[in-house]
Amino acid sequence: MNLLDPIFIGQLVIGGLLAGALYALLACGLNMVFGVMRVINVAHAEFMLVGSFAAYVLYRYLHVHPFVSVVIAAVLLYGLGFLLQRYLVERVVNRSLLTSLLLTYGMSIVLMNSGLLIFSSDFRSVPVLQGSFVAGPFIIPQSRAAAALVSLAVTVAVYWFLKRSRLGKAVRAVSEHAEVAMLCGIDVVRIRMFTFGLAAAMAAVAGVMLSMIYSFSPDTGPDFITKCFAIMVIGGMGNFLGAFYGGLLLGVVEALVGGFVTTQWAQAMSYLLLVLVLVVRPTGLKGARLAK
């Protein structure tokens, strides 16, 4: 049995890229928040799960297809993120990292346990798009393909938005230098609220996509948030493209390790990569500019 079978490797890489696209979407949102307000939002994964549960509830009780739920969840989470930023996070943006970390950690605990109280820790999923299609010698599960496409689309759209649109440029200005941005007449506080909401909406999209691929429960958050941390560090904190490539990279590495070693080691990869990068090059592979 030749382990270096190219089809085997190819299949793993494809699977990894598909998973990685989802990670990238999630990590880019988290990264954006960090870039704009120097806050590491530990509750980001819980935002994602709110999206997943929204998709589940909408599908189960109202038979809404996840592709429609995506929009609903994104709007919902945008609102939630906006409000949370306005009333909670804004108070700690100028304080220490520990303070904001603790606040967002508290938020994640509240969200997670509210979820447990409402839904219990049973695993759920949205069983649409099951089955796979064949492309050459490769098998591509439909749900993962759809999730990857949507994730890519949203990530690219946000990137384009940040680069080209007026509002996007304002966001970037705030992340590079908040005081100067304020002097230029940008309402920094509103930008922060907007950014936090946008990131939450991105997380919601990831969550809806996730609901079709994996089984999830309210306590699935920590697995994903640690992947996000790893991606942010690997890609360089505050670096949007870095987070994007980092997400893809992590997906592929996890798949390859899962294929050549074991799944347990694959799950450890995010930490191992994290440690590796921190030791060798703390600013990340693309270099942290603490800005985009």
Partner: protein, 390 residues
Amino acid sequence: MKRAFLIAVLSVVAWLGIGIASAAPPLKVGASVALTGKYSRTGQEQLNGIKMWVQDVNARGGILGRKVDLVYYDDESKPDTGAKLYEKLITDDKVDLLLGPYSSGVTLAASTVAEKHGFPMVSSGASSTKIWSRGYKNVFGLYTPGTTYMNQILHFAKSKGLKTVALIYADTAFPRNVAKGVKVTAKKLGLKIVFEEEYGKATTDFAAMIQKMRRLKPDVVIGGSYLPDSTAFIRQAKENRLYAKIFAFAVGPGLPDFGKNLGSDAEDVMGNTQWEPTLNIPGAKDFATRYKEKYGHEPGYHAAGGYGAGQVLEAAVKKAGSINHAALRRALLHLNTVTIFGRYKVDKTGMQIGKPGYTVQWQGGERYVVLPKDVAVKPVVYPFKPWSGR
């Protein structure tokens, strides 16, 4: 001064009065249950079974003329929480009798606490043989040991001339115990284990593992699992077009949720079960009917185990004639009785040897006992229907 004297007298009278008025105090039965966490589904079932027993036994007048009071806490499916809770039950709540938690992992921890205090504990919800290999004297099990879970399926595979097995299992006590048994039996039968992998208990992504298995084309896929992982695996096996002539998992397929979550994808999946409501055991059908009336769904074996554990405790206390620990321990060791769960008879370590396990298979959206042949309700559907044909 006179007033103080009067108050003192009244207090003494009241105290005496209260003492006389209260009849024999209730018997406190303590347990921790997984109400949250990974095992909450099955933990809740086990609790339901225990609660039904408490109701029934009190309707009968209690044990030794005393009403039974259930004291329980949520161990969050975590062994360390369970250990702390049993410490609390024994030293703070001062319970009279103990029932074990759900899952081998939590039971391993809880039993150490019970052993430390010399307090006998009746355990349903745990089957890892490791629990009884430590020389403890205070744990008495209802479940058929984990190492035997897949024996019937492996024998069946051998009888069909199959040769290769892919084995996966979660990294906690019970699944590892099942895997251990699979390896021993496979070796005895001359079946080759071509793939073996342990996975983290929180794993939801089996894609890479399935890729590896596909290349090896195993005849049989066996999983030492619980409900969430077995469900996720089957779903992903279909997605990634992994085919085998037999798919068998621990715990998952034994539960109604499995079929509900997977729909037609559960078809032909085999699993083991400790008990089924359709078995010809005295009291089983009655229990199942009443359970369904009360809780709205059929009981799985975890619920029956909870009920059965209560019955064993009741029988042992009656046999010993007291709740004294030493007497109870002796009674539990020598007790030979039949509950709605099946026969209870333990070896000298407290491990169950009187009750067999059963194999179930999902057919037509329902779960049926298919092995051993003499109690089978339906024959085994073999081989596994290909994914594309569903």
